[in-house]
């Protein structure tokens, strides 16, 4: 590891149902926003990493050619829900190794092409053939959570209530209306005990960040956040009795990230974590070390993960409010944290945010807790 990598530009589109937009139509406005903020032209981009799961062949090239990025390495990355974060991990690594000075990470996916319902999983997989869908996996985790932690369904619902409260202040979120615990629990049942409002909605989205070396950042003279840690893990196959409340992939990935950054979970001001379903957020409070194992439900009950608490989790409204266009989400999290750490998050600004963490996993294959987990820690760079 040689130099540092810094994010100097970030952009995304409002997540939602954009059936009349192509993959390039979704991504180019996000890319142009990021480039403009960085003060970088498309011709200065030395490499592109594009996270997506459902874009088809050469998604990154279809985006790049529209704006004159040409003759450079473009790598398309699928890592399910970690695809966008993996693109960022690889892009920043190329800068830290000195291979490039100015690179672009993009995340994009269009789920409305599937016409609704649960995410189509790979039917070669054994458990998928038995009927596994993502809500079912998290629903089983939720039943176990309620059983082992002595929590109630109201505690799960409170995660959505918080997410929507945050999203009300975020024009990029798809669902911004406040909801009550009762409304969450009375919404349509998807996979017991998870109701519709406890599941991240489908949607389309794109996000982009420009990552540069220290030398280039000095030349650009723009606000920046420094990448303090970037870790990517795969899951470990287990045929036996796995504890679903101990997602080892996130525990291990987080431990490594905190070691690399030399910070502790208690130092963080803002977190964007993988709240694909309500129960996930509570489990990840524990896995990320925000509290002792078993105390996740206490954090949400005490309001410790909202504004005024110990750390603001998902100020953007999270996947539960934004929607979860698979490959886009990891980059969109980095965009939100960039805005928070540069003091440009508007009405939902976390006061004096200095350190932020992003976390995504990627699921649905037999025998693994998740297929991928990618964590980044960012720090506000002094100008």
């Amino acid at each position: 590891m040689n130099g540092d990598a810094l994010v100097v530009g970030a952009g995304m589109i409002a997540f939602g149902r954009h059936k009349q937009s192509s993959y390039a139509g979704l991504a180019v406005p996000a890319v142009l926003t990021a480039l403009k903020q960085a003060g970088v032209s498309p011709q200065q981009i030395e490499g592109v990493w594009c996270g997506n799961s459902f874009g088809g062949m050469l998604t990154g090239q279809r985006i790049a050619k529209d704006i004159g990025i040409a003759g450079v390495p473009i790598v398309n990355v699928d890592n399910a829900c970690s695809g966008g974060a993996t693109a960022l991990a690889e892009a920043q690594q190329a800068v830290r190794e000195g291979r490039h000075d100015i690179v672009l990470a993009v995340g994009v996916d269009k789920l409305t092409q599937f016409g609704g319902g649960t995410l189509p999983l790979v039917t070669e997989d054994w458990e998928v053939r038995q009927g596994m869908v993502m809500p079912a996996l998290y629903a089983m985790r939720a039943h176990r959570y309620l059983h082992d932690r002595g929590a109630g369904v109201e505690d799960l619902a409170e995660v959505t209530v918080k997410a929507r409260r945050h999203a009300a202040l975020n024009p990029y979120a798809q669902y911004r209306d406040a909801v009550t615990v009762e409304e969450v629990l009375q919404s349509r049942m998807i996979a017991e005990p998870l109701t519709l409002l406890q599941c991240c909605p489908t949607g389309d989205g794109a996000a982009a960040v420009v990552v540069v070396s220290e030398a280039v950042r000095g030349r650009l003279g723009v606000p920046a956040v420094r990448v303090r840690a970037s870790t990517l893990h795969s899951g470990t196959y287990m045929a036996g009795y796995r504890d679903m409340l101990y997602p080892k992939i996130t525990y291990d990935c987080a431990l490594e990230a905190f070691e690399e950054a030399g910070v502790s979970p208690q130092d963080l001001n803002v977190i964007e974590l993988h709240d694909a379903f309500t129960v996930a957020e509570l489990v990840y409070y524990e896995a990320l070390g925000l509290c002792a194992p078993g105390d996740g439900v206490k954090l949400i009950r005490d309001g410790q993960t909202s504004f005024g608490g110990q750390v603001v989790v998902n100020p953007s409204g999270g996947l539960l409010s934004k929607g979860h266009p698979v490959g886009a989400s990891g980059v969109a999290q980095a965009v939100e944290v960039f805005w928070q750490l540069t003091g440009s998050a508007g009405d939902r600004q976390v006061p004096d945010a200095r350190l932020g963490l992003t976390h995504v996993t990627g699921g649905g294959i037999s025998g693994l807790d998740h297929g991928a987990c990618c964590i980044h820690i960012f720090e506000r760079a002094e100008s």
Binding site: G117, T118, L119, P120, L121, E124, W126, E127, V128, R129, Q130, G131, M132, V133, P135, A136, A139, M140, R141, A142, H143, R144, H147, R188, M189, I190, A191, E192, P193, L194, Y237, A239, G240, Y241, R242, M244, S366, G367
Partner: protein, 130 residues
């Protein structure tokens, strides 16, 4: 010069006719695999041990008794017709099986259950109300 005498061929792991469940004189069982090198057991069978990568597993009968680790009833799914109930069933041989599960009463964590194999080979677990 050496000359290759045979080419490496793929596993035909999607071929029809793989027996997953059977009923013998000993009763119903699922057919998993156990590694003859390291002893690791898993379900369903694969040609290579996921623990040590040895390529000589033996068939390993698991079930028929198990315990529900967790469960859900699915009302929206792209995988099959709804509603249906799924459970992670911990079978007595130390292996976890995702299964369709049926019960006359409410499903519950830690509920005992047993394997049911039908004539045409379809299988599920049935909950045992206490």
């Amino acid at each position: 010069m050496t000359r290759a005498t045979s080419a490496v061929l793929p596993f035909r792991d999607l071929a029809d006719g793989m027996v997953v469940a059977e009923v013998t004189e000993q009763g119903p069982a699922l057919i998993g695999a156990r590694c003859t090198a390291c002893g690791y057991a898993w379900f369903p069978t694969r040609p290579v041990c996921p623990s040590c990568a040895a390529a000589n597993p033996e068939p390993y009968r698991i079930g028929p008794r198990g315990t529900i680790y967790s469960y859900t009833t699915v009302h929206v799914s792209s995988a099959r017709a709804t509603p249906y109930s799924l459970a992670f069933v911990d079978v007595e041989q130390g292996v976890r099986v995702l299964s369709i599960v049926e019960s006359r009463g409410d499903l519950a964590i830690d509920m005992a259950c047993h394997l049911v194999v039908e004539d045409h080979g379809d299988w599920h677990f049935a909950g045992e109300e206490s």
